[in-house]
């Protein structure tokens, strides 16, 4: 075995031999099983799946944690494999963990809009967590668009909670997402025609858009894989993240239409004019302790798009943390294990009793 041990990196010849041997193994082997922490599906509505993970400690913090996943991707990024799972980390630290995850919307879900995602899905998940745990307090933790949905729910229901609100890489100033702005230019992009024709925003279209944010990304990632085929850990990580990033979900048509018009075109969240189901979203009235964790090298939700959020939230107890990493490595992988997860735990533990 030529993998690196302490003080002895493999020689170039050893690496070349291992690359050839393991290249065949890579092609023949199956991908790792992801998202396998034991759990129950406690609520299923349209594309929403609410999971309750089995506790791993004898006693848990009083306040349960509800993770809200981004609507474009699968929630197993929070639960990759043992040792690289945020869910497992939180369970071992004594939290009672729930997750609002998404399936691909079906044809009959095309009419689901922002109100459904915010009130029915996020709000409904909170109500179910409250019912199952018997606790009125819930900590809400959202990632990317899951963070937007969490912030929208909190801005509509500031009197009711949540107990704590933590979001990761959550955009608020969509004008700063310059490439998405360019591609959805109202002069050329007819969102009504797209939604009315297809009923959904296709996953392939979204995947292409994300890929084009770094046009060389996929080729250089494949080169890095070839270069590192001798390194088992690298290969395992590549397979997990490559599978996850390619496993995108289509978006329900009305939800995509409203996201495009209100958030991207009107920049309504930033301008303070955002309404959901006719009700105003009042970020300034959110009083729950608030944490926003962003990534220094995020090429999807750039610093310009995420940084203003902290100033719009009304909470007295609020904090923004910028950590090393990118949009995905902030929340999963070795970088997250070392940086973000302990930071979240340190912030949340004191507020969960």
């Amino acid at each position: 075995m030529a993998t690196a041990t302490a003080g002895s990196a493999p020689s170039p010849v050893e690496r070349a031999i291992q690359r050839n041997l393991k290249g065949l193994g890579y092609l023949a082997s199956s991908a790792p099983v992801l998202g396998a922490s034991p759990k129950d599906v406690v609520l299923s509505r349209g594309p929403l799946r609410l999971y309750h993970y089995h506790p791993l400690t004898d006693e848990v913090y009083r306040v349960p944690v509800l993770l809200v996943m981004a609507t474009t991707n699968r929630g197993y990024i929070f639960d990759m494999v043992p040792g690289q799972s945020l869910v497992e980390f939180l369970l071992l630290r004594g939290y009672d963990v729930f997750m609002a995850d998404w399936e691909a919307p079906r044809a009959e879900d095309r009419g689901l809009g922002m109100k459904d995602y915010v009130e029915t899905f996020v709000g409904g998940s909170i109500a179910e967590v409250q019912r199952l745990t018997g606790e009125s307090d819930v900590s809400l933790v959202g990632y990317c668009m899951g963070g937007v949905l969490s912030v929208l729910w909190a801005g509509l229901n500031h009197a009711a909670g949540p107990k704590n609100l933590a979001v990761f890489t959550t955009p608020v100033d969509f004008r700063q997402m310059t490439l998405f702005q360019a591609w959805s230019d109202q002069r050329y992009f007819d969102v009504d025609r797209l939604v009315d024709t297809l009923g959904m925003a296709p996953a392939e279209m979204l995947l292409t858009a994300f890929d084009m944010l770094r046009p060389a990304g996929r080729i250089s990632a494949n080169f890095a894989l070839l270069d590192n085929l001798w390194n088992d850990e690298f290969v395992k990580g590549h397979r997990m993240f490559d599978r996850w990033s390619s496993d995108m979900l289509p978006l329900a048509g009305e939800y995509f239409r409203e996201t495009t018009k209100q958030l991207v075109w009107d920049n309504a969240l930033m301008e303070g004019t955002m309404k959901v189901g006719g009700r105003p979203v009042e970020l300034g009235k959110i009083a729950a302790p608030f944490l926003h964790v962003t990534a220094e090298h995020d090429h999807i939700v750039t610093t310009g798009a995420s940084a203003p959020l902290i100033g719009l939230i009304g909470s007295q107890d609020k904090e923004q943390v910028v950590l090393k990493g990118g949009h995905v490595s902030l929340i999963a992988g070795p970088n997250a294990v070392k940086r973000m997860w302990p930071r979240l735990d340190a912030w949340l533990a004191e507020k969960s009793v």
Binding site: A107, T178, M212
Partner: protein
């Protein structure tokens, strides 16, 4: 400086790839941010949508001729099933309000954990 020849075929390629990636990402995103690029992308999306709509219409006609259900028929069926599920969910919620849950609850876990800073042994 070592005189040992570099036997790693990936050594040179690594540096070259790094430069290439930077250049392509920088110039590629500059190019893609231009209105002309957005216009071209939307034209392609529009054409793809037209093709899809036309093929849907044609296959619906073919299926109707063969007396087979079309995608729209399945969607309508799905919508009806969804409505039935929603009704069942409402009935379930109403029943829960008037009768206790019949499923045995998972053993309640103690919600008494304290953060390390408040634990007696710290």
């Amino acid at each position: 400086m070592s005189d040992t020849p570099n036997l790693d075929p990936f050594g040179l390629a690594r540096g070259w790839m790094s430069q290439w990636e930077k250049l392509v990402n920088q110039h590629g995103t500059e190019l893609l941010a231009k209105p002309e690029a957005a216009q071209a992308m939307q034209a392609m999306t529009g054409a793809a949508m037209q093709i899809q709509a036309a093929s849907q219409e044609a296959s619906a006609k073919l299926l109707a001729a063969a007396n087979l259900p079309s995608r729209a028929d399945f969607e309508a069926l799905g919508a009806r099933l969804g409505a039935i599920e929603a009704t069942l969910s409402r009935i379930e919620q109403s029943l829960r309000a008037v009768a206790p849950d019949v499923t045995p609850p998972r053993p309640a876990i103690a919600r008494t954990r304290k953060p390390p800073s408040q634990s007696p042994d710290t």
